[in-house]
């Protein structure tokens, strides 16, 4: 059920400003792809084009093609709402619905998609929370507010919420940048487990994290402030971190800039 992502000739704009220019890449199903690069290089913007969240931003506009298996997400007659049900997303700051309990947070996406019996919901909620390695910590407080959990637990709750609807792809936008090292480790372990079932794309500022969790790494860069961000190269993570083919990548990962 995990699907391949195939991007070709993608440009993303904010109003008339070209933020991301001419990106083409393929992301294999059941793999983890990490996006790295300096701030402002467009990696988050690009990530948000993969589930049509970019156009939610005022002035946001996208040109080009994103194929999910064979379906163009930007094709005529494609409903962005339907796209987002296929491509889940986890954000930089944990954002459980503050007015909902732990249980309701996980069930939120399911309730949008259709009617479930209570027993079915219970089962999916438990399965999702187990899938997010959170079940043991919250099984006695499913009716307590989700915002009462710790930051790391909240982020895993958001992951549970995202995987409850069985998306084909899971996008993660710096999911650990607001978390402490222990919670970060928990999420990274989880990513390793989740890639058995989902295609995962993760944006990270932490190069060690990219090296630890991903199979493929894409390096983004921009020529100067005000210039569009570009994909410099994408390759197996091991190669990117040992013997990249572009000098800029090596400069970046060895800490010479950025």
């Amino acid at each position: 059920m995990a699907k391949r992502i195939d991007v070709s000739g993608l440009n993303a704009y904010y109003g008339s400003f070209l933020a991301v220019e001419d990106i083409s890449m393929t992301v294999e199903p059941r793999s983890v792809t990490a996006f790295i690069g300096p701030s402002g290089c467009g990696k988050s913007t690009f990530l948000r084009t993969l589930n049509r969240m970019h156009e939610v931003t005022p002035g946001g506009r996208v040109e080009g093609k994103v194929l999910l298996d064979d379906e163009n997400l930007y094709g005529a007659g494609i409903d962005p709402v339907a796209v987002r049900r296929e491509v889940g997303m986890v954000f930089q700051r944990p954002n459980p619905f503050p007015t909902m309990s732990v249980y309701d947070n996980v069930a939120a996406g399911l309730r949008l998609n259709g009617k479930y019996k209570k027993a079915q919901l219970d089962e999916i909620v438990e399965k999702s929370l187990k899938g997010a390695n959170l079940w043991n910590e919250v099984k006695d407080r499913l009716n307590k507010p989700g915002s009462g959990l710790s930051g790391g637990q909240q982020q895993r709750l958001c992951i549970a919420r995202a995987i409850a609807v069985e998306p084909k792809v899971l996008l993660m936008d710096e999911p650990c940048s607001a978390l402490d090292p222990i919670s970060t480790l928990a999420i990274e372990d989880l990513i390793g487990e989740l890639k058995e079932r989902f295609t995962i794309v993760i944006v990270t500022h932490n190069m060690q994290q990219a090296a630890r969790v991903s199979d493929r790494t894409a390096f983004f860069n921009l020529a100067a402030v005000g210039q569009p961000g570009k994909l410099i190269e994408i390759d197996d993570t091991e190669r990117i971190f040992s013997n990249p083919s572009v000098q800029a990548t090596e400069d970046y990962i060895s800490g010479r800039f950025g």
């Binding site: 589930n51 969240m53 939610v56 709402v81 339907a82 796209v83 987002r84 049900r85 296929e86 889940g88 997303m89 954000f91 700051r93 954002n95 459980p96 619905f97 503050p98 007015t99 909902m100 309990s101 939120a108 996406g109 949008l112 998609n113 307590k144 507010p145 915002s147 009462g148 958001c158 919420r161 995202a162 609807v165």
Partner: protein
């Protein structure tokens, strides 16, 4: 050497803090801080003193009146404080005030939420701004102007609505109409609804605008439509704010005087139908009777004012409890 390096903090002392330390903790050691502290504390105390003064004044004068009253103050359908013996009661006023305010809220709250959501989440920026501005203007219109408009425009034009309600919903008893001028509680409710609309809309709009982007994106990323985003993140987050806004509106509706006095034909009896004369309101009754009232009459009116004061306090207290009870789940601890 870097002299700005802070020293290691002193170990905590087991002794109770001195006055000096307490002052420092409040930030009140420098003259500026002390003056500001005194000013802000003074303002707070001033407010309490004013509230207490009003309560004492109302209670004293009301006590005089109620002890003269020969009938039950709470259940009597009559207002004759200068009679021999004096007989008056607030039953009709309480009924009219509460009923007309409930009608006003029932109409104004949904419409206000609709306008606020339209301005913040649906309207293009070019349209939302002007609409918000017009709503602000509505809030600034004096109530006497609403009263004039109500009496000269609204009342004659409600004949059609009254007839329609009587024809189709007359069987409920609530919407029965015997054909008099439409100057009954329903008209008051409609006029009050228009008057409290701006304040409820404005406060709701601010609350909806403050919903953090990340909560809306959370819903969007799950595949929520625009309406579902509003239902999942905007409305729950704004819930307590909308309740507060409604209470502000209700406060204005309960106390509105001139506009009500200008559109209502007050009677001192209660009618099950909202379309036939029946009831008055506290504020309207005070306004229409105060000038000609004798000493006793004024005290009786003040007693009714005290009841209005208490009703307002109860309403606000209830709203607080509603907000408090769901605090755990409010957006505040996110």
């Amino acid at each position: 050497m870097d002299i700005s390096t802070p020293k290691a903090p002193a170990p905590p002392t087991p002794e109770p803090p001195t006055t000096e330390q307490k002052r420092a903790a409040r930030g009140a050691t420098r003259p500026g801080d002390r003056i500001f502290l005194a000013l802000s504390r003074g303002s707070g105390i001033f407010l309490l003193v004013v509230m207490a003064a009003i309560a004492v004044f109302l209670s004293l004068r009301a006590f005089n009146a109620i002890s003269e009253d020969e009938a039950n103050f709470f259940t009597t359908f009559e207002w004759n404080p200068t009679g021999e013996p004096p007989v008056f009661g607030i039953a009709v006023l309480a009924f009219g005030t509460v009923v007309s305010s409930i009608i006003a809220l029932a109409i104004a709250v949904p419409v206000s939420i609709g306008i606020a959501l339209f301005i913040t989440h649906y309207a293009p920026r070019k349209l939302g701004g002007p609409i918000a501005y017009v709503i602000d203007l509505l809030a600034a219109v004096p109530s006497i102007v609403y009263g004039l408009w109500g009496a000269l425009v609204l009342v004659p034009n409600l004949v059609g609505l009254y007839g329609w309600l009587d024809e189709y919903l007359g069987w409920t008893g609530i919407f029965e109409w015997s054909g008099g001028a439409p100057r009954a509680l329903l008209t008051v409710g409609i006029l009050l609804a228009i008057m409290i609309l701006p304040i409820i809309t404005n406060v709701s709009r601010e609350v909806f605008r403050q919903v953090p982007q990340m909560h809306e994106e959370a819903a969007l990323a799950l595949g929520a439509t625009r309406w579902e985003v509003i239902r999942m993140s905007v409305l729950p987050y704004g819930r307590s704010g909308v309740i507060s806004a409604s209470m502000l509106g209700l406060g204005r509706a309960l106390g509105e005087t001139m506009a009500v006095a200008m559109v209502l034909s007050p009677t001192f009896d209660i009618n099950a139908s909202l379309l036939d004369p029946g009831g008055g309101t506290f504020a309207q009754n005070i306004a229409s009777k105060f000038n000609e009232a004798t000493e006793n009459g004024r005290d009786a009116l003040i007693a009714s004012g005290l009841v209005l004061f208490v009703i307002t306090l109860l309403v606000n207290g209830t709203a607080r409890i509603i907000i408090e009870r769901r605090k755990e789940f409010s957006g505040a601890n996110a």
